[in-house]
């Protein structure tokens, strides 16, 4: 098996990341929900949009809100030929622009919905296209469009609606990660039912799982050492929180540091095959392998007692 070991990895905050807005950003977003833009006056009199809590130059707290827009002028723009669908404001090619709304002294970023880059220019006047359903988000504006290219529908605010105090932002990043050369050797070993650690040339310390270097010296761990799939529990934890482990659906269950015979670092794994309150430091256990072996730590499902007498504490105390 020589193909590179890659894994798809998603970094996501389930349900979206929540943030409170505070009074200044909250007022800006409440305005958007109501179909209105508000900026804030800085210490030098300039109107900052979107509003900031503090003056960017003096750090003084700001409080004088000023209504601006709804139309404005493009001060810079670019074109998105391949939109990031599901993330960026539009699913078809569009322009980004910095837009200085009428009455504002600073520009804000948003999308401009036009068919081609030649419809864009610095100095182009634009107006907002509001979404029908607005929640208090920068996305309450679907996009800006050239001024006059369509009727400007100004929404009516909902009476008695509570001010916006928070936002929820779906956030997801996708990755394709690779194991690395040293870890790949160890993972391929697992696919063959072996636990292969590594050590550096001038050291007798065998690292399992190996990451490519001896962490005490920074030297590469170029020597492979097969270790046993049998070892000693050096320390353990009884888990009473449900839903954390797919392999151990019932609580309480025990996870442990297991020092495999021949290794100098412990393996973090699940203990099964005896009641949780009988798990102890020094317990001798053996790996229970999965039916189908793959280059993944999941090839070892858990560890069970192997019947050997407990290892004396003195012999593993520096690993506990």
């Amino acid at each position: 098996m020589t193909e590179v070991l890659l894994e798809q990895h998603v970094l996501e905050y389930p349900g979206g990341y929540t943030r409170s807005t505070g009074p200044v950003v909250g007022r800006f977003l409440t305005g958007l929900r109501d179909g209105r833009f508000e900026g804030i006056r800085g210490g030098d009199g300039t109107v900052i949009v979107p509003p900031t809590e503090y003056d960017p130059y003096t750090a003084a707290a700001l409080s004088e809100f000023v209504e601006v827009g709804p139309a404005g002028v493009v001060t810079a723009w670019t074109w998105v030929a391949e939109p990031r669908v599901g993330k960026q404001p539009l699913d078809r090619p569009f322009a980004w622009a910095l837009i200085k709304l009428d009455g504002a002294d600073t520009a804000m970023l948003h999308a401009v919905a036009v068919d081609a880059p030649d419809a864009m220019s610095v100095g182009l006047r634009v107006q907002p296209r509001w979404r029908t359903e607005r929640i208090g988000s920068i996305r309450d504006i679907e996009a800006f469009v050239p001024e006059g290219s369509e009727p400007l529908v100004v929404p009516s605010p909902e009476p008695d609606a509570e001010p916006v105090t928070g936002i929820v932002t779906p956030t997801r990043l996708d990755y394709e990660i690779n194991a690395g050369i040293a870890p790949s050797k160890y993972l391929r070993g697992l696919a063959e039912g072996k636990v292969i650690g590594q050590r550096a040339v001038d050291s007798d310390q065998v690292y399992v799982p190996p990451r490519g270097s001896d962490p005490t010296s920074g030297e590469p761990t170029e020597i492979e050492v097969e270790v046993a799939d049998v070892g000693t529990v050096t320390t353990f934890c009884v888990v009473n929180v449900p839903g954390l482990s797919e392999l151990a659906p019932e609580i309480p269950y025990v996870c442990a540091q297991i020092l495999l015979d021949g290794a100098n670092t412990a393996w973090f794994g699940l203990i099964q095959g005896l009641p949780a309150d009988e798990v102890r430091m020094g317990l001798r256990v053996k790996a229970v392998w999965a039916d189908e072996l793959i280059p993944n730590a999941a090839s070892i499902k858990w560890f069970e007692p192997n019947g050997e007498p407990d290892t004396p504490y003195e012999s593993y105390r520096e690993y506990a």
Binding site: T52, A76, R84, Q88, L173, N178, P183, R211, S213, E219
Partner: protein
């Protein structure tokens, strides 16, 4: 009256870069640069006083994954260590401060990251204002293109100048064994290529790069012992602008100008400059902010357009200037590093060889 600064120099530098590496992990990239930079300095690994690194967990998408880089350093017996979620040029700044305060006499700095693992231009959207910008998901290239548009509209630069910067950088990169991109193409050839992010072309945009770099700093006599011609840091300063793009003047880099003034760039001739320009238009903006004369060679290494291992790129600019000083090619140079959208935060480092 401020206390006299200690003389601190770069006495070791190494880099290890690749294009979309599917085999090595981050630790495997770092191991050789740490080993080589330390070997160049001659300082025994465990005599180095302080270890500081720069990277970003979001490059690999896992919490605390950055800290795994320590496996490549040798941290037993325990070492004095720090790390910054920033380009390692700022890690170097922290190390320099630690030496100035007198805590230590030497430091190892390393920066690393694998930009190829995720969509790196999308990842750094998470640095933008979380209420008014991030939910729109502009990429770093989109924002840079906005700055390029503003600079062209303000006559700070023009399309031909961008192509000339790209052409010169790519040609220089051909001669740099560490660069992953580089080709011989005149400005006219580049101008004929399609604009992909108005007004930028692909040649104006730094390539996705995986890699690591390391530098060893030493003070005073330790530096003189470690290097035949240390590259002394005569000034190092950084300044930051507001996060909100619309509040800033994107056609100028005021923070670079202030940092350059504080670092004393104009106190002597600048014989070479290495600038952290991930996009062509950033070069004319930074040249102006640094007050560089038109004949100052910029990015003889090819610069980030030749290789952009995000989180190490700025550190490498310092290393590239230091290398030329230590080799005796130049006596004084400026290195620049940047972080944040559209040159939001900028570090300027003035390096000089001893004349004796």
């Amino acid at each position: 009256m401020s206390p006299a600064l200690r003389d601190v120099a770069v006495v070791g530098f190494a880099q290890n870069l690749a294009d979309h590496d599917r085999e090595r992990n981050e630790v495997e990239f770092i191991i050789p640069v740490v080993r080589d930079a330390i070997a160049q300095s001659g300082i025994p690994r465990h005599d180095i006083g302080f270890t500081v690194s720069g990277s970003c967990d979001y490059l690999s998408g896992g919490p605390f994954t950055f800290v795994q880089g320590l496996d490549a350093v040798g941290a037993w017996p325990p070492i004095k260590e720090s790390h910054v979620e920033m380009d390692a040029a700022w890690a170097l700044y922290e190390a320099w401060v630690s030496i100035q305060v007198g805590d230590v006499d030497s430091a190892l700095i390393y920066g690393f990251g694998k930009s190829s693992l995720g969509d790196v231009h999308e990842i750094f959207n998470l640095m933008n204002d979380p209420y008014s910008v991030m939910p729109l998901w502009p990429s770093t290239v989109d924002l840079a293109a906005l700055q390029a548009c503003a600079a062209i509209a303000a006559d700070v630069t023009n399309e031909r100048e961008l192509a000339e910067v790209a052409s010169r950088s790519h040609t220089a990169a051909l001669a740099n064994p560490h660069a992953i991109a580089g080709r011989d193409a005149s400005a006219d050839v580049l101008l004929a290529e399609p604009v992909t992010h108005v007004p930028l072309r692909d040649a104006d945009i730094a390539p996705i790069t995986d890699g690591a770099a390391a530098i060893v700093l030493a003070a005073g006599d330790l530096a003189r012992k470690a290097s035949s011609r240390p590259a002394w840091i005569r000034g190092i300063e950084h300044r930051i602008e507001p996060l909100a793009l619309g509040v800033r003047d994107l056609t100028r880099s005021e923070s670079t100008r202030l940092a350059a003034e504080a670092a004393g760039v104009a106190d002597g001739p600048v014989e070479v400059a290495e600038l952290h320009t991930q996009f062509s238009h950033e070069e004319p903006i930074l040249r102006a902010a640094l007050g560089l004369a038109p004949d100052v060679p910029v990015n003889p290494s090819g610069g980030p357009l030749g290789a952009n291992p995000i989180m190490a790129t700025g550190l490498i600019r310092i290393g590239e200037v230091a290398t030329r000083i230590t080799a005796g090619d130049v006596s004084r140079g400026v290195a620049h590093a940047t972080q944040g959208p559209c040159l939001q935060q900028n570090l300027v480092c003035v390096l000089e060889g001893e004349t004796n």
